[in-house]
């Protein structure tokens, strides 16, 4: 694709139309992403460093950040396992109702989150039909996160799993590998990049979740209050810099997680080399 660049390394490879395309893309990206992100940083730093530090070390805020990050990690870990298993079942097994399940997986994507919150409240609220109530507990946060992040790993792993040829597994078997060894040494390493990509999305989604948990969790400070709720609280109390400070922290955590997982992915997919 960059053959021109190889031939004439000093000159730009952009044609006029490609330049226009890049310009439009950058403008679009700036308007939608860069400027808002910058605005958060600017707002957060309005009161200077002491104010920022005070905002994020506020005990209630710190508790909300801890709760959110911890549950996002837990949920992502569960998704890595369950998402892979579900993708496996969808790709490898033929059973009655498979196509229905295939469609149902996407419901957490499609459903407005507040509707999800309502459903969860009806089922697992204080007078739900199962007699199990997670209302006003941190497990409500966990449950809501699980619900909305379910499709990410499944949908990331599924196409990659479909690509793995059965012949590759047969080759390993003929070389003496047991079913478990085939899974551990052939299938999982091939799936790792997809699992990690799904995990990243799942984590990011959990970090920002609001609608699905706001009804069930009760939003109790120090117990079930997540960062998004805490931010809304700050804004309602006319503390915009405080909300922006939390947002800036979330931004840094999200970036750190994305970068870390990217490094892990490179490590994992490069492990067989050498």
């Amino acid at each position: 694709m960059t053959a021109v660049a190889v031939a004439a390394p000093r000159r730009s490879t952009l044609t006029r139309s490609a330049g226009l395309g890049l310009g439009v893309a950058m403008l679009w990206f700036s308007l939608l992403v860069l400027i808002p992100l910058l605005a958060i940083i600017v707002t957060a730093s309005q009161g200077g460093w002491p104010a920022f530090w005070a905002a994020i070390t506020n005990e209630q805020t710190a508790a909300a950040i801890r709760l959110t990050v911890m549950h996002a990690f837990l949920v992502t870990a569960v998704n890595v396992v369950m998402g892979t298993v579900i993708a496996w079942v969808l790709v490898r097994d033929r059973f009655w109702g498979r196509s229905v399940l295939e469609v149902l997986i996407d419901i957490p994507f499609a459903l407005p989150t507040i509707v999800a919150g309502l459903v969860l409240l009806a089922l697992y609220g204080s007078d739900g039909p199962f007699g199990i109530s997670v209302a006003n507990r941190s497990s409500a946060v966990f449950l809501a996160f699980l619900f909305v992040t379910l499709p990410f790993v499944v949908r990331a792993v599924q196409p990659v799993l479909e690509e793995i040829e059965v012949e590759v597994e047969e080759a390993a078997v003929s070389l003496g590998a047991s079913r478990f060894t085939v899974l551990r040494r052939i299938i999982l390493p091939s799936l790792a990049p997809a699992i990690i990509a799904g995990a990243t999305l799942s984590f990011a989604r959990a970090m920002g979740e609001y609608g699905s948990l706001v009804l069930l969790s009760g939003n109790l400070p120090f117990q079930t209050e997540v960062t998004s709720v805490r931010m809304l609280g700050s804004i309602e109390n006319d503390n915009l810099p405080g909300a922006a400070a939390i947002a800036a922290v979330l931004l840094v955590i999200a970036l750190a997680v994305i970068v870390t997982l990217d490094v892990v992915q490179r490590k994992v997919s490069g492990r067989g080399r050498g």
């Binding site: 040829e165 012949e167 590759v168 047969e170 070389l175 003496g176 067989g272 080399r273």
Partner: protein, 323 residues
Amino acid sequence: MSIEVKGINKRFGDFVALDNVDVSIPTGRLTALLGPSGGGKSTLLRIIAGLETTDSGSIAIGGVEATRLPAQKRNVGFVFQHYAAFKHMSVAKNVAFGLEIRKRPKDEIRARVDEMLDLVHLRQFAHRLPSQLSGGQRQRMALARALAIEPNVLLLDEPFGALDAKVRKELRDWLRRLHDEVHVTTVFVTHDQEEALEVADEIVVINEGRVEQIGSPDELYDTPANDFVMSFLGPTTRLDGQLVRPHDVEVTTAHSPGSIPGTVRRALRVGFEVRVTVLTDGGESVVATMTRATARGLDLGEGSRVWLRSDCLAPDVPEPLAG
């Protein structure tokens, strides 16, 4: 090691893939399973490898009963048409895989991998990923991977089927030479009769789940057991209702006893040979091939009157030939 296949039956639903197949493959030979697609040859190979189960019958490898042995335990090297490379592993890791499973010492694995990579001329690609290799190189890697475990038998399922014509031919010659070096009992599946004739010591012709004939390439070509084998192994044409090879049809411009008169409809030069289509007076369209010199000597053109005969005609009543 030898392979003994006895009374193998295999069905996929209503489809009979193998119908009471008996084959005996001798030690150290290069054997081709030849036949049209869907004829059951790949199924037979997979059953030998243990990748497929049989409905009835038995398999013995090197005299040891293997019918119920899982694929992992058969110590069989298997090469697939589409390479089946472990894409996330380097070439060296691919080749080392079977040895690592066998928990061989690290030094031994390294030495064996180097030896194998030398054998398939991929030493300088040891650290590449399969995706960075060409098709032919990938297949050589797959071969090294299969040979690394010192298999009892080496099985190749249409090994050159995914490669382009030129590479296929190179690899074919190379497989022949490799086999002369390594001497492992080798069975390969192909639907390409030229490939089988060129490479194999022995050919098993399989069609519609049955073995049609087993023999050396010469035997099969010269004395085919039936019309199917004859037409599958090379070009054929019908002369006086009999299946003959076009190059066995003798074309003359003078009448001789037992020859059939006809008119040339078409004379087509294809490379080194001339392909003549003759319509006999009996209304049969016969194809004869000859060298360019012969065709020139006969001065053949559209509309020429010719007489056709074949030595293969009426083999029970050999005509006395002068000279």
